[in-house]
Chain length 321, copies 2
């Protein structure tokens, strides 16, 4: 739940008056998202999302994020489109925060994942990767292989051991392994890098929207699949659902294709994706004040997923022949 | 900020299918309100608010609250109208909670109160009292004179003294005074009882909506004015703005009229309203866990307001001749 910056009636009305979207009918803080303040903005011309960028977002990255959404939306990817004010500028300021209005996407994110969800996800992810191939701004992934050991060290041996005895050494060994073998020559593209179910909307059984591009970056496209294997293909009881993985990977491959190198690298990238979310959750778990207005996510869910991928021998274990 | 019960995509779609309001386009938790879970619900036929009633609301009171909104809306008061499902029933259940869909009201609540806001408020409050006069369900005010001493005792002398030394005895003396003189024969009606600025929407400079009827009850109508004096007529620096009070009371009186007994009682009722909000805030301050997803409100703001009303000799001090 997150509304860090409260925008008053006068501030939102003045802010919106710079746009050609009519007067403000309502503006309600949304209890979703943990990085920024999000408002559902209703004006005389329709529904929008107003986002105020909070301190965890680097303002230098905002032209990349907004530019990417505009680029993808123009190519038919169902993602929010930044709305420009009358002066042609989408990135603006309100209440001392950089802010933008984007179009509102209909749909609901799925709580219980089906194989059909995974099928749609694989297809749209591949289309998104193809659409992003000629996006001309680059952004380094700030949460990739070289950032994980500093995250573990910032979490600290003592606090990490309090979460689970033996965890610090287990993660150190995993990082040793990943750092030694992390592939460098995979096809790069613009990836979403945070494609969890709460960032994907469905309507009438079909994928209707992808949101929250604030971790998007330039990285190996197949790494996005590693993230999605973790985020979409495990059951609530922790078991891996190979049918979902197969559907997701198969539809992706029909749309974009995967090289032998990408297929070979996938198990390692899935391990990397697991430890990436494990480490940010671990850090947040240790460093989030108990009275924060944010629900902390359990890092241990990702230790179990990491263990699964450690046992994977090839993409056959993900259902691909 | 409050979404206590998370409604999944499947649950909301099934819930809404009982209504004639089209399919669900979106359903986003709203970071407003502290008692219930509120969602902004967008369907093919428009915007609504979906409320799930949480444990602090007595389910036996819900027919009163929903019936009152329907009654007032039918008489032209700008308040949410409960939407009935195809079976004619508005009060339903989802996720194990009683729940209702009400119409969405456009408008923004004012952060900085103007005398014009107070003028509109006085007028609409009087119209609401007249419209509610023939509402045929009664509900006892569960936070009135007889409930305050138990609230103070539940807060406890020790914890209360930690908030401010001397506070427990000062409040005890005030309760002695109020209990001895609390008026019994004022004109009764259906009052809102929680008419703070965040429950009143304005659009294009005029009052466009009154929401949150979940403290409404049968009580002296002039007590609502006592609450509004506290909630609308003090400046951020704590000073009383007699111009705002005069505008609010004067427009109210034009619309409904106030008897001599009501005018005489107003200073005492305003003291009562101040201690009512002081005590609930004090209790919440002491009893809200530090890690709760709710921002606690400072009870001491209302001690200053109480002190002001203690010095009031007659309604002349509120600007009425």
């Amino acid at each position: 739940m997150a509304v860090y910056t409260e925008v008053s009636d006068e501030e939102v009305s003045e802010f919106v008056s710079a746009y050609d979207i009519g007067g403000v009918l309502a503006c309600k803080g949304i209890a979703e998202g943990v990085e920024n303040s999000n408002y559902m903005l209703t004006t005389e011309s329709g529904a929008f999302i107003l986002t105020l960028y909070e301190k965890r977002v680097d303002s230098a990255d905002l032209p990349f994020f907004l530019g990417l959404m505009e680029h993808l939306a123009a190519k038919g990817i169902p993602c929010p489109t930044p709305v420009k004010a009358r002066d042609g500028v989408a990135l603006r300021e309100v209440c001392g925060r950089l802010a933008a209005i984007v179009t509102f996407l209909p749909g609901l994110w799925p709580k219980r994942i089906s194989t059909d969800h995974c099928r749609d996800l694989g297809e749209v992810l591949a289309r998104m990767h193809k659409a992003g191939a000629d996006f001309d701004i680059q952004r380094t992934n700030s949460l990739s292989i070289n950032d994980w050991r500093p995250l573990l060290e910032a979490s600290g041996r003592n606090d990490t051991e309090l979460v689970k005895p033996g965890l610090y050494d287990a993660l150190t060994q995993e990082l040793d392994y990943l750092e030694a073998d992390w592939p460098e020559n995979l096809p790069l593209g613009t990836i979403h890098a945070d494609l969890f179910p709460d960032n994907v909307f469905f309507r009438d059984g079909h994928l209707s929207g992808i949101i929250d591009f604030y971790f998007a970056c330039t990285d190996a496209m197949v790494y996005d699949l590693g993230i999605c294997l973790n985020a979409w293909c495990f059951e609530p009881d922790g078991s891996f659902n190979i049918t979902k993985a197969r559907r997701m990977l198969a539809t992706y491959r029909i749309e974009r294709g995967l090289s032998a190198a990408e297929l070979d690298a996938l198990p390692l990238l899935a391990r990397g994706a697991a430890i990436r979310f494990l480490l940010t959750r671990l850090y947040d778990w240790i460093n989030t004040p108990a009275n924060a207005l944010v629900v902390r996510k359990d890092p241990m869910e990702y230790l179990d997923k990491l263990r699964f991928h450690q046992g994977v021998k090839s993409v056959a274990d993900y259902g691909l022949e």
